[in-house]
């Protein structure tokens, strides 16, 4: 597969070409922050961003989507989203999260709704140019990524190194003006990878993430859950901004004609009160501290069991910034447990 060096103005022209022919979602400024949105002008693309407000998860698992349509009392029809698109500017930690979701939505029962969107996507990832205030991807081993994308971009100053990783990426990259990247450009990229592996670390985990399940195995009754949950609003912000949270609700919606309707899948969150409530009134995970603990156990014990041991926290730091009472930082919690319980 090709590795090209593309001058920045040529890259902007390349993006302009893509926008004219394809549906492109890219990272743009939103006030003084950043977010993924439909890209209408190549000038709006901001690959120098630190972190987006929402992870790119929403393009594969939208906040609300139609799974099925029906006629009341009649048959149901599957609805698969057929639009092909390019997702431009995915950071390595978010790419790791997408790779994990790909596995989870294919495992055991293949989810055609998620996978159709995933197959329709061409992902252009990009290495982090500027660390965000709360990133800890270096601690989680997600500061660089080697798979999942179709093209990987690295900003090396006046140009990008662009490497195609799939036939789809190769085909797209052929449209960009640029020569094969030389040894000097590749060296600069290596340096950026080496830098990011250390510097995307505003919070430092005190152990290799592979040890986290062992730490949690001893931490079920630790007081930290109660202490943190005391000020938790159960607002679900941590769930909402998390690139690896994928719990959802399913409900029906009837149209005005009262004859047709759709079955919707919508994001849900395990921190929300009522997540485990059954009719008429029994709630299985009623205590806030239990819900708080459940989320942290999902990230570092339960979901990893489905992912061959990979920790389902990618260190994006979004939950740290989104949590009003400032209790969500997983590194603080895991470090506290490591201090109290050791990693053995």
């Amino acid at each position: 597969m090709s590795v090209k060096e593309i001058a920045k103005n040529d890259f902007t022209r390349f993006v302009g070409t893509l926008i004219r022919t394809e549906k492109v979602f890219g990272v743009q400024a939103k006030g003084d922050r950043f977010d993924f949105a439909p890209l209408e002008s190549a000038q709006d693309l901001r690959l120098d961003y630190d972190v987006t407000l929402q992870p790119p998860k929403k393009y594969f698992l939208p906040p609300a989507e139609v799974l099925l349509t029906y006629q009341v009392g009649g048959p149901y029809q599957s609805q698969l989203d057929g639009q092909e698109f390019i997702l431009l500017g995915v950071h390595p930690y978010d790419m790791v999260a997408i790779n994990q979701m790909d596995e989870l939505f294919q495992q055991d029962n293949y989810d055609t709704h998620y996978m159709t969107r995933r197959h329709n996507a061409t992902i252009i990832a990009c290495d982090v140019a500027k660390p965000s205030d709360h990133v800890f991807a270096s601690s989680m081993g997600t500061a660089v990524v080697k798979k999942g994308y179709d093209i990987l971009l690295t900003d090396i100053g006046d140009s990008f190194v662009a490497e195609a990783a799939t036939p789809k990426g190769e085909q797209l990259l052929a449209k960009a003006k640029g020569a094969a990247a030389d040894a000097q450009a590749l060296k600069k990229r290596e340096d950026i990878w080496a830098r990011n592996k250390k510097s995307l670390n505003k919070h430092e985990l005190k152990c290799d993430p592979a040890y986290l399940p062992k730490v949690l195995a001893k931490a079920y009754k630790h007081p930290v859950w109660e202490e943190k949950a005391k000020t938790c609003f159960s607002c679900g912000s941590c769930n909402q901004v998390c690139p690896t949270c994928y719990c959802f609700n399913v409900q029906d919606d009837v149209n005005w004609d009262l004859k047709t309707g759709q079955r919707l899948r919508e994001w849900d969150g395990c921190l929300l009160d009522g997540f485990t409530k059954v009719a008429p009134a029994h709630e299985f995970r009623k205590a806030r501290a239990d819900r708080f603990r459940h989320r942290l156990y999902r990230k570092a014990t339960y979901v990893p069991q489905k992912l061959g041991g990979q920790i389902a926290c990618v260190g994006c730091g979004r939950c740290v910034g989104a949590c009003l009472p400032d209790i969500a930082n997983p590194v603080n919690i895991y470090n506290r447990l490591i201090d109290d319980l050791g990693i053995g």
Binding site: L68, S78, N109
Partner: protein, 279 residues
Amino acid sequence: MCQCCAEKKDIYLPQLATVADISQMNVTEKYLRLALEDGQFDFIPGQFVEVSLSGIGEAPITISSSPTLGDSFELVVRKVGRVSSAIHNLQRGDKVGIRGPLGRGVYPVEECKGKNLVFICGGIGMVPQRSFIKYVLDNRNDYGDVAILQGTKSYDLRLFTSEIEAWGKRGDVQMLETLDEGDARWKGNVGVVTKLVSKVETDLKSAMILVCGPPIMYKFVLMALAEHEVSHQNIFLNLERKMKCGVGKCGHCQINNAYVCMSGPVFRYSDLASLPEAI
């Protein structure tokens, strides 16, 4: 658009089934017999289906009939929420959506062969248990002694009264029934279902114990079984949780790391030791 997904089965897509029979069992429970439009429906006792009412939603309901019934299956639904209330309004001939059978944690149909069985049912816990009970009675020679313990809150909430009466008269089933509250119309046992445990004639220690009831019941049943030194390997509990997808994705039914829709709903008690949220 990706063709490979369009050709794969949609795990959220219900098939249509027709309400072949529906009747009111008591104040809160409705009985339904459903037949899928394409006829074929194979399941193992303990499995559940997601029942869809278009415009209302979907709810997980464990199958109450035995696979030996043939090409239709039975459900019993308590009127408690939106979907279950709408199910109560169905008429014979109406269509509902069905996904399933779901759940890989089922009754240990094979493991129980040749062994003595004790079913402990609390209230509508009888409904899922009945699937295995009827299977056992249809294959009576494959199993040892059978004792069925049923505890119900009050006289008017009793379910399957004629079936229970018939089981009691068979001669090869020890049928024990109790009501939490006494009633002038009731001449039998009064008290909670755990009081019946010591009346079981078969040796509990070597028996397979199958339990289903409201969440509160499990602790007390397990305490009673502990007095008889029943091995945790031989106790099976049928657990209920909120479920949305039924296919191991949505997260609602998780008990620690176990998805009830995947690993359950029937669990071996010794497997629950690592799941503090289970009971």
